[in-house]
């Protein structure tokens, strides 16, 4: 089952902790967003393999944008 990792809030991508092909566990850090001068960590919603990464460092994302896809 593939699940998209959605942006919980609008912000700028500060760092990306995974790359395509990585295996992640639920609650692993996927990336860090910066919104209103605060760092917000986005965690993996499930165990699985990262099959797509939709953003890169420096990108501006809106709330609910797809950040990555994890195939569990």
């Amino acid at each position: 089952m593939a699940e998209d990792v959605l942006a919980p809030l609008a912000g700028k991508v500060l760092s990306v902790a995974v790359s395509v092909g990585d295996t992640v566990e639920e609650d692993d850090e996927v990336l860090v967003l910066e919104a209103m001068k605060m760092e917000t960590v986005v965690y993996a919603p499930l165990d699985g393999e990262v099959t797509a990464l939709a953003v890169k460092v420096g990108d501006q994302v809106e709330e609910d944008d797809t950040l990555a896809t994890i195939n569990g």
Binding site: P8, D27, M38
Partner: protein
């Protein structure tokens, strides 16, 4: 020996030296610690200038700083211009998507009134008590606006207290938030609000201006400029004005505001036992406001099925966006997938509006 008599150093008083120490402390906080440097640096330097002897800087009708203060602050020009910039900077989306959270911004004015009551019981006049109470809103420009009208001699102390508590929100608020909420409550993940349309955001500043000013006309200078700035932003047709209001103009008025506020803090005005009271009462006001917001959020949870994380109530004080950041951080401690920032921005913005309304009511009942 007229020259010797003119030497500044012979006219230095111990009070002045004490004020230099305060000025240097603020400059240190601004420069070395980067605490609110945009404000504390000009305020600190203003204090230093105002406490040098024989400068005439604050001499009525003549002094440079007196003119800044008189025409900028006393004439109510600068605080509304700050609000113009804030309006151009503010996205009311988080508020519009969760209208019910607006009440938390009203509840958090509780500290303002409690402190007003306490201050007048301690012997402050009603005008002074109102100025001290409004510190609980943790809104710098509103505090300065009200102080300039009701109690100019307390302006410096109240402004510094308001800005300090705003900056200290991450230290003052968390213990209160932990005390009044359970771990489970802090872990509540709120349901996302609906998407807000561009049309709503466009209509909001116009409608809010009508509603609030018709109810509390005395709030017009602040609300009027706040909403005009926001209309610059949301109309999308005057981007140049929106940019100027939130960047260039904001920076310009910040310089004059900071220096003027600092300049009001002469040794005579500031080194009084009253001032310690003001800082203590201001702190109480801020703490009680935080608590009132939390408690109303908990009460609202008793009657609603769509649970509110009570932490967002603490953002009802208007320290934007510090209080919202604190809420986000404490929420994430309880549940790391809890993203409260945008939910907290709603009450946070409502808190600004609530504090302005409170100031408007004080002004209409006590001013003039």
């Amino acid at each position: 020996m007229a020259f010797v008599e003119q030497l500044g150093i012979l006219s230095v008083t111990p009070g002045m030296v004490a004020m230099w120490a305060i000025a240097l402390t603020l400059l240190y906080l601004a420069i070395a610690k980067e605490h609110e440097p945009l404000l504390l640096l000009p305020i600190g330097f203003g204090i230093l200038l105002a406490n040098l002897p024989l400068t005439g800087l604050m001499t009525p009708e003549e002094g440079l700083l007196w003119r800044f203060y008189r025409y900028g602050v006393e004439w109510e020009v600068i605080p509304p211009l700050v609000f113009l910039g804030l309006g151009a900077h503010t996205d009311f989306g988080p508020l519009l998507s969760q209208p019910r959270l607006v009440f938390l911004g009203a509840a958090a004015q509780g500290g303002v009134y409690l402190t007003f009551f306490a201050a007048q019981a301690f012997g402050f006049s009603l005008e002074e008590a109102a100025t001290i109470g409004i510190i609980g809103g943790a809104d710098g420009p509103t505090t300065i606006f009200l102080a300039a009208q009701l109690a100019p001699h307390l302006l410096g102390a109240c402004a510094v207290a308001a800005y300090s508590y705003m900056a200290l929100a991450p230290i003052i608020q968390p213990p209160i938030m932990r005390l009044l909420t359970t771990e489970q409550e802090r872990a509540i993940r709120m349901k996302k609000g609906r998407k807000v349309t561009a049309r709503e955001k466009l209509l909001f500043p116009i409608a809010a201006t009508l509603v609030i000013i018709l109810l509390v006309p005395a709030s017009a200078p602040l609300i009027g400029m706040f909403m005009l700035g926001n209309l610059f932003r949301e109309s999308k047709v005057v981007e140049r004005l929106a940019e100027t209001a939130q960047d260039a103009l904001m920076n310009i008025v910040t310089i004059f505001l900071g220096v003027s506020v600092g300049a009001t803090m002469s040794a005579d005005n500031f080194l009084r036992s009253d001032v310690i009271f003001i800082f203590v009462l201001g702190l109480v006001a801020f703490a009680v406001s935080t608590a009132c917001g939390l408690v109303l959020a908990k009460l609202m949870n008793l009657v609603t099925s769509d649970k509110i994380n009570p932490l967002v109530g603490a953002a009802g004080v208007s320290a934007v966006p510090m209080a919202a950041r604190v809420v986000h951080k404490i929420g994430a401690e309880a549940n790391k997938k809890n993203y409260l920032l945008m939910f907290a921005m709603g009450p946070n913005l409502a808190g600004v509006i609530g504090t302005v309304i409170a100031a408007g009511i004080f002004l209409s009942m006590l001013g003039g």
